[in-house]
């Protein structure tokens, strides 16, 4: 690090991203809480373990190959160029810069910030498939979405040189599509193959409400996700950079915060817009669901997710209205898809993340129409068609299709769904019996001591 200003900028940026990581941890805690709260008593422990164990599996696979994919694939490859092995070289699992290295202080922090996004992508899928998927099958799916599919979409559409940004003018500053639409689409692909929980649909096809065993835990989990979402938002920004560092068309020497595309924004913008889109979602979620706590909290999340694509530039009132629109559509679509296609999405993840994310991308194309998607010359401007194409790529091409294919393979190998008897007995049947036996033994001992 040469020069005090460079040193300070590097250390500040390093700490800035580091601080996002423990904040984003709260997202995972929240997902675990609301998933366990939504499951029935007989499935608690397996539900918790299913979500928890994606942490080590996605972490190590993201180290093995996920991080390399991000740096190698911005060009497609073979859309705007070949595999970018030169940029990816320093990000291989065996690169010297991935370990303690006095010449590279920040790669590990970047890696971890991206990794927490990977956990989120996999965790979104986890909630929708509870109470009937085999844990081993889910963990394979978690690696596919967390360390392969989402990071390819990030290389394509969430990278300053990504081909979607260059050719489509794709803009998705806080990941409406690159995390939420893809994870929702992936979950839907898996759900189509996995099928509903036993008893979810009556003989005439009408859906039954399998209510959360602990609505309070579910809502607290969603509240926790809001808290972690702050880390997610700030991790999407470059906190400070000078125009020379960007090397694009910006003139002068005014330092700025930017999005991941290196387009200028401000920390103030995203702070206000986060809260306004959350509020729009909460207000509409409450009205649409007639005050149902689960859908009100989910509405807050859907509001943020819908506005996220353009929250670097929206006026706060735009953010509020867009958040509300996305929430209303996601809520209605959830029940329409459930009724029409018999899809049992246990926590509404496809709606809150997938539909809201998709809608957010499309709205962004209209509201930010003509705004430069990049500080570099030759990039397409943001436009409705490019955003719609991007939404299709995120939700269907990189989300639904891989989820459906991998689930089909797992189902063909009889690895996807738990046996019918186990589903009825409950996944925790064996451990519950052990617990009951141990408790009975203690009670008998205590009675004998009276």
């Amino acid at each position: 690090m040469e020069g005090n200003l460079n040193a300070l900028t590097t250390v500040f940026t390093e700490f800035y991203y580091w601080a996002t990581i423990p904040l984003m941890f709260f997202i995972h805690i929240g997902f675990c809480m609301y998933e366990v709260g939504a499951s029935r008593r007989r499935n608690h422990l397996h539900t918790l373990m299913k979500n928890t164990m994606l942490i080590p599996l996605v972490t190590i696979t993201f180290f093995f190959f996920g991080w390399w994919l991000y740096w190698a694939m911005p060009n497609g490859p073979f859309i705007t160029g070949g595999l970018d092995t030169a940029s990816a070289e320093a990000n291989t699992a065996w690169s010297e810069t991935m370990g303690p290295n006095t010449g590279d202080r920040i790669t590990g922090v970047f890696w971890a910030a991206f990794l927490l996004f990977s956990w989120t992508a996999a965790s979104i899928v986890s909630g929708s498939v509870i109470e009937r998927i085999k844990s081993g099958a889910f963990w394979i799916l978690a690696v596919v979405i967390g360390s392969v599919a989402w990071i390819i979409d990030a290389a394509w559409g969430w990278h300053s040189g990504g081909w979607m940004v260059q050719l489509l003018g794709y803009h998705d500053a806080y990941a409406s599509g690159v995390i939420h639409a893809i994870a929702g689409g992936f979950a839907l692909g898996v759900l189509v193959v996995l099928g509903p929980r036993l008893g979810k649909f009556a003989r005439d096809g009408s859906p039954r409400d399998i209510t959360p065993h602990n609505p309070w835990l579910v809502c607290l989990g969603l509240f926790m996700i809001y808290a972690g979402f702050w880390g997610f938002y700030v991790a999407c920004n470059v906190p400070i950079i000078d125009p020379g560092g960007i090397g694009g068309q910006i003139t002068g020497d005014t330092w700025t915060a930017t999005t991941i595309y290196l387009t200028p924004t401000t920390l103030g913008a995203i702070t206000v817009n986060f809260l306004m889109s959350l509020s729009g979602g909460l207000l509409v979620g409450y009205l649409a669901s007639k005050g149902n706590p689960f859908w009100t909290y989910s509405g807050g999340l859907a509001g943020i997710i819908t506005a996220s694509a353009g929250n670097d530039l929206y006026h706060p009132i735009h953010a509020m209205i867009i958040g509300g629109i996305g929430t209303y559509c996601a809520y209605k679509l959830h029940y329409w898809v459930e009724q029409k296609f018999k899809i049992d999405d246990a926590v509404g993840a496809v709606a809150v993340h997938g539909y809201a994310g998709f809608i957010g991308l499309v709205i962004c194309g209209f509201v930010l129409w003509g705004h430069p998607s990049s500080p570099y010359e030759g990039f397409a401007a943001i436009n409705p068609l490019g955003q719609f194409a991007g939404a299709i790529i995120m939700f269907f091409v990189l989300g639904f299709v891989p989820g459906w294919i991998v689930a089909k393979i797992l189902a063909a190998m009889n690895l996807l769904r738990i046996p019918r008897q186990v589903e009825l007995l409950g996944l925790d049947f064996a451990s519950n019996r052990e617990e009951q036996a141990a408790a009975a033994d203690v009670r008998a001992t205590e009675k004998a001591a009276v």
Binding site: F64, W94, E96, G103, G136, W139
Partner: protein, 72 residues
Amino acid sequence: MATTGIESWAVDLKDIGAIYPFQGTEGLFVLAAVVLWLGWHFVQIRAENDEYDGIISRHGDDASINKALEGD
């Protein structure tokens, strides 16, 4: 000879680079870790299937299932 290659901090840090031990063996360690990861999946899937088979063989009859459902 230190495993890290650093035997004294009387150096200019810009001339150093990696400071972890056994530099040059990263590829082998990664290969071993990948094998462990894949092996973990095989062992876990087999154990999970055995667990379900065991539950079904001991408690998979209609009476046990009905009793369990009453307690849910």
